[in-house]
Amino acid sequence: MDKVPTICPYCGCGCGLYLHVEEGNIIGVSPIRHHPVNKGTLCVKGWNSFEFIQHPERLKYPLIKENDTFRKASWDEAIKYVANQLTDIKKKYSPDSIGVMSSAKCTNEENYLMMKFARAVIGTNNIDHCARLCHSSTVGGLAVAFGSGAMTNSINEIADAKVLFVIGSNTTEQHPMIGMHMLDAVDKGATLIVADPRRTQISEFAQIHLRQKCGTDVVLLNSMMNVIINEGLVDIPFIKRRTENFDAFERVVKKYPPEIAAKITGVPAQDIKKAARIYATEKRAMLFYSMGITQHITGVDNVRSCANLCMLTAHIGQPMTGLNPLRGQNNVQGACDMGALPDVYSGYQEVSEPSSRRKFERTWRRKLPSKPGLTLTEMFDSVLKGQMKAMYIMGENPVISDPDSSHVTEALKKLEFLVVQDIFMSDTAEFADVVLPAVSFAEKDGTFTNTERRVQKIRKAIRPMYGSMPDWRIISEISKEMGYDMGYRATHEIMEEIALLTPLYRGILHHRLDDNFGLQWPCSDPDNPGTPFLHRKKFAKGLGTFIPVDYIPPAENISKKFPFVLTTGRMYFHYHTGTMCRRTSTLEREYPECYAEINPEDADSLGIKHNSMIKVSSRRGTITVRAYVTDKVSKGTIFIPFHYKEEAVNLLTNPAVDPSAKIPEYKVCAVRIESV
């Protein structure tokens, strides 16, 4: 029996675990005791992360659709077919008629290759991935404020912090092992402030729980800053030395005294003041946020407000002090770092910037497009407008994960050519012309970058199941067939190229990642030990910029016809569109069907009983789910997880997006509830 150390494939915590392998079978999982993130623990998904790997429903060979049904194909045939189709469409229309979706589930090396494939082989900047739907507002918002859109601190600093301000993050359920560090901090005497409309598990440990109404985060944060300014709790020397644009910002914040904010947010003014004072006066204060902040049409504004709060109180640039967006997917940080985004190459080097473009052109020996491409949400619009003709989707399932699903399926049907590369037959793959069987995390080498910027190695534990192939090999083969031989023999060679072209990753090479559980970027050279916390001495972009932010209400308001606010999210036992967890018996048994959390008062007034079926409708669709009557949600709000394809909540959600980040507003839409 062997135990292969690797990284959990679920959330962004990046916990270390062993896969137990016996004669080519994976028979178990156990945590790595000294791993800095999980320290010998795992969450339920981690403990059960082995089961789906050898599931009989894994895709076993390439499939080609003929007369609306799939038939088995050889790799040779499938690769040639994909290459020819893509080449034809590129010639017939233009490179920009092809869109590429990379994956936050795949390794850094694979995301880099996908980005290279889109830009150098196809010749388009139309590449994006699901970070668009989770943290694009962070990447955009923090780039302008600080110059870097990642978690500023390390996970193992959390336990020693004095104040934890958690806004819009259900940490113990969504980043359980970060939640563990938070509880440790609370046990050591830290003050925990939670701002969340729902009564989450972490909020039960909070000294102050601010239950703002969905979509009013800007008001809440502005009014906290209003208190801090008015009560003289501002760190003036820091603002003078390290930041710019304070005056313009101050003028806006002045408009949000806590008494006015209380009316909009529903949070008592006293609580706002108390939270502001505690956060501002204590050193070693860490701010955490997640989807509750980012998934709004004001996602970028929310993120900017968080950044403003940190700068105002000088809570940045020190250990245990900073602004920490918790990234969702195991490698969503890495997929962004690798430039699987329409406007940047790896390391956030802009495609429109001639010097960086020239650097990539020289190395890749191809002319590269200079105009930023389409975002994921824009790609589907472009398909419907008849501009985009083909898509290559790797390891994503937009049919379930994107807002207003029927819009997405309509677009997928309209495509001339669709390639989907995945480990299971996903709902998106059903629409494909070619389905390519890829491998899971257990069958390949590579690296994942977790939410604290830690680049860690995943290791091949078993041979690829059935006739599947690692994603990086598939991309290379298609590329070769299209006349561009990438010529990598192993993933460490790809990492070498990444290091060459990416200042953030310059010192990150596979052989350096075996000791000390990887390296945290920025890592400037092969001797650099990595960076546990960011913005020391100065911000990545020089001076930090205050950006004034005014309140904009959610895109959709409740009305007589749709009197409830629907907010969506994840739950502990499941993960995203469920392709992995719903094939894991323990996880599926726990929550086998979709449900809606509804407040007891609302349930009473509508005559809805716990566990009875209800119909939830928005302007875009209707689903029928089981009612969970609980005071976790406040009156007037319901919560539905988005993991279930049977009752896909994204049939209801509003596709309205943030104007700059293009992130959809998953957290607020208006619905009507009827008992069935």
Partner: protein
Amino acid sequence: MGSIYMESLILAKSNLSYWLRQLRKEMALIGPLKGENNDIVFKTVENIHEIILDCPALIPSPKEFIFPQKEDMFRFSKDKVENLRNDKKRLIFGVRSCDISAIILFDRFYGEKFVDDYYMSRRNNTVFISIGCNNPDPTCFCIGLGSGPFLSLGFDIQFSDLGDRYLVEIGSTNGMDIVKKFIHLFSQPKKSDYDDQYEAMLSSQARFEKRINLENARQKILFEKVDDSFWEGVAKRCFECGGCVYECPLCTCFNVIDRKYSETEGIRIREWDTCMFRGFTKMAGNIWPADKKVMRTKRWYFHKLIYYPEQFGKFGCVGCGRCTITCPGRIDMATIAYRLKVGENERKAD
């Protein structure tokens, strides 16, 4: 397994690797080896000199070798059912005393009344060589339960490190079987060897940091009626990861799942299951008898502290400290026993 046997011998340390190498020709050799970074894990031994004996109780417990996390039970096809019992010979070297104490109870649980053939098949073909702990972890508390650091019976073979040699105590016929063939490598112990073993045990006992009295906790629950708010407080911190159960060398629950490869072919497997999940007691027709987390956390402690003693005369805990390491909510056995002892209010005043 096998019947009880008692004999003591001396093995010079210089003879150990030769002996293991010979044994490895007949059975798979598994031992504590370096894992990622500073970790030590049980793996198949490639290089005998890499075995690390000076380590605490390892994660996960060696129950994984006799009751694996996932075990294939049957392979079925249209007209055939194949029983996939594992009967490979294995030697697990370097197990801790606490784990042997747990295996003794496992043997009773799976062997009494109805004999669990999957467990028994593995157990009959596995020999454990345990080692008296010279170096307990800060999380260890076997000393308060009599399940370590050294055992006087119940093991197949127990090693005691006496510097340049091991005192080898053989406690079962299965243990004797692997010594007998190589008896020329061993010598008879002198009285001073037993004195040295006693000295080693005393010095080990002195190193324990935790003194946990589970009897105290049991009596508190039985006779002083612990308030439900206490258990509510425990449940509030539960992450529902199942780690305590997965790691526990004494947790025995499993789930049975069928997996189809085609319409007529597939396998029936069993997997570790945990009472920490609401689905554990789920019944058809959307009935969830243990929907509240507090019912489940309480049940685990009651099982270990109250019902195990009733059924087996021993606590359902051997003090290995694994739940202390693996519980993200810090509501492990040692912590709860301590909190039951001091009471909630005093703890807050600390």
